[in-house]
């Protein structure tokens, strides 16, 4: 066994490590890293899977980490494409953001929760813990279990901006670090209420109507249901080569069809401006 030659190992190791360290700046050739929002992640993964099956030999690495992390990664060059589920803030405006699809946020409760409809104001009161028990609506006298995303999440920021406005989400809320995890909690806990990407709603949770408007594609495209945010692909400079090709595929009818099938909303009928929550 080579373990006998202690010092020689050290020398070999140095020879191995050094070039690896020096070439550390090199990105893997023929591959693209897509990093960022965990909301966008499952859809980007589906797109990547489809794209890679059409272009064998090409590698697209998708991973989460969050909208802010994705934008940072693009800025520092760790990733070619950043995924964001929120709009860029002023300090990020030097990067290029391309909307690829729209996503609505659904407020969800347990499948057996008798509620079907809440007004925006009621939702605000619940999430800021001004109302803390379900008995307000003739439900049982059980405390409401709030579930929210963590600070820095694009979904949370969208929820904050579009629904909460100036009011704060209560600190007593449970925090989960992905939409799927929130959905899990709401599936199991009768007293839970949370918010997730509309595309992730399944038959094990119930999406509430907001002010009587249900979150359907039709309502969204006609701007009746307004809790909508864009999914963005963020680039440092004009996308080229593989990144551009991937983007083109996503924006093509085939790519958009895949996304719409997964529950997202095509952007064509929607004008660029997005209404914010009224105070």
């Amino acid at each position: 066994m080579g373990k006998g030659r202690g010092s020689r190992w050290v020398h070999w190791l140095g020879l191995l490590i050094l070039p690896a360290l020096l070439s550390g700046c090199q990105r893997q050739p023929g591959g693209v890293s897509v990093v960022g929002s965990t909301s966008v992640e499952p859809f980007a993964e589906a797109l990547a899977e489809e794209y890679m099956s059409r272009h064998p030999g090409v590698k697209i690495f998708v991973q989460g980490g969050g909208s802010s992390a994705g934008i940072q990664a693009v800025r520092t060059g760790s990733a070619e494409i950043g995924m964001s589920s929120r709009n860029l803030i002023d300090s990020e405006k030097d990067l290029i953001a391309v909307p690829i699809i729209y996503d609505a946020i659904a407020v969800i409760v347990h499948r057996e929760n008798p509620l079907n409809d809440l007004t925006l104001d009621q939702i605000r009161k619940i999430f800021s813990a001004e109302i803390t028990r379900w008995v307000e609506w003739g439900g049982k006298n059980h405390p409401i279990t709030l579930v929210t995303r963590e600070e820095g999440s694009g979904t949370r920021e969208a929820f904050q901006k579009l629904i909460m406005g100036k009011r704060e989400i209560s600190l007593s809320a449970l925090v989960q670090d992905s939409n799927g995890a929130i959905r899990q909690v709401v599936t199991d806990d009768r007293n839970a209420i949370g918010y997730i990407s509309l595309g992730l709603v399944n038959d094990r949770v119930k999406a509430l109507k907001i002010g009587g408007i249900e979150a359907t594609v039709d309502n969204i495209q006609h701007q009746r249901y307004q809790i909508v945010r864009p999914f963005l692909f963020v680039f440092k400079s004009r996308p080229q080569d593989l990144a551009k090709d991937f983007l083109d595929y996503i924006l093509s009818p085939a790519g958009q069809k895949l996304l719409v099938q997964e529950g997202l909303i095509s952007m064509n009928p929607i004008p660029e401006s997005k209404k914010e929550a009224r105070r």
């Binding site: 066994m1 373990k3 006998g4 030659r5 202690g6 190992w9 050290v10 190791l13 191995l16 490590i17 690896a20 360290l21 550390g24 700046c25 090199q26 990105r27 893997q28 591959g31 890293s33 990093v35 499952p42 993964e45 589906a46 990547a48 899977e49 890679m52 590698k59 697209i60 690495f61 998708v62 991973q63 989460g64 980490g65 520092t76 060059g77 760790s78 990733a79 989960q176 670090d177 992905s178 939409n179 799927g180 995890a181 959905r183 899990q184 599936t187």
Partner: protein
């Protein structure tokens, strides 16, 4: 009325029996639960296919590759460093300030929580050295985490080599290095291997530090700079997101079996080694 000490003993022993039984049963029940749900789902395809549809279908091949890659990189770095440290401490020095400092460093390193290693690996390997989320970043971070274990077991292994072996070598005119190379190391190898296997066990199960440094992309990697997902990370993500409970159980069962195999080999090695010496 004083209770006789025999009654006290019966009571105490009874309590201990109950407590111990209960504890052991709960501990093994946890394993049993995951294995019971997951084992039936394991078949050869599961290990050979990559995950598809975010993990809802397919297998865990790429995560196996990822786990192995990370572990190999970690071992390549940590084993020479660990064995070298052990040799230094045992062969080249007596208890001195230097050795005390080294031991202090090793002991402290052993106690650092994995999330701190994750933070460090992220800020140092991923960002500062610009390695990005990759097998390299993850492996190097894991190496720092298993180093104390390897140092500790290697030291025990070197210590266990009887001094007579060294005496013989010196008497025949061998230098210190020749003695180490030809007498000490070959006999310490089984002990070192035990430490290596313990390190492997830790690498395989580590999650927090791996997510922060090796990323979580689940396609099969093609270079040291590719991000990867390990089995433990895959299990964590599946379990949390509720994507597919069956897949979660199956991955968990695979993970447990893997650890079981490693531990069994380590125990067997230790048993043989102790009986040899």
């Amino acid at each position: 009325m004083r209770i006789s000490r025999h009654h006290t003993q019966a009571l105490a022993k009874g309590v201990i029996w109950v407590a111990a039984f209960f504890t052991l049963i709960v501990m093994f029940w946890i394993l049993y639960q995951v294995l019971r749900e997951g084992l039936p789902l394991l078949h050869i395809d599961f290990f050979l296919q990559a995950p598809r549809q975010m993990g809802r279908a397919g297998g865990i091949f790429s995560t196996i590759v990822g786990t192995l890659a990370l572990t190999v990189v970690a071992l390549i770095i940590a084993t020479p460093l660990g064995v070298g440290t052990a040799i230094f401490l045992r062969e080249y020095t007596r208890e001195s300030r230097v050795s005390r400092v080294i031991r202090f460093g090793t002991d402290c390193l052993a106690g650092v929580p994995s999330i701190i290693f994750g933070l460090f690996g992220f800020v140092f390997f991923v960002i500062f050295l610009r390695m990005g989320w990759s097998i390299l970043s993850g492996g190097l971070t894991l190496a720092t985490m298993i180093l104390p274990t390897i140092i500790c077991t290697a030291e025990e292994a070197v210590k266990a080599v009887p001094y007579t072996y060294r005496e013989v070598s010196f008497a025949l005119g061998g230098t210190r290095w020749q003695t180490i190379r030809k007498m000490v190391l070959p006999n310490a190898i089984p002990g070192v291997l035990t430490g290596v296997l313990l390190g492997v066990g830790r690498s395989v199960g580590e999650t927090a530090a791996v997510i922060l440094t090796a990323g979580s992309s689940f396609i099969t990697p093609d270079s040291l700079f590719s991000p990867i997902r390990t089995m433990a990370v895959h299990f964590y993500i599946l379990a949390r997101e509720g994507i597919s409970m069956e897949m979660a159980y199956a991955t968990g069962a695979a993970l447990i079996l893997f650890i079981l195999a490693i531990n069994t080999v380590a125990n067997w090695l230790m048993y043989r080694y102790i009986h040899r010496a």
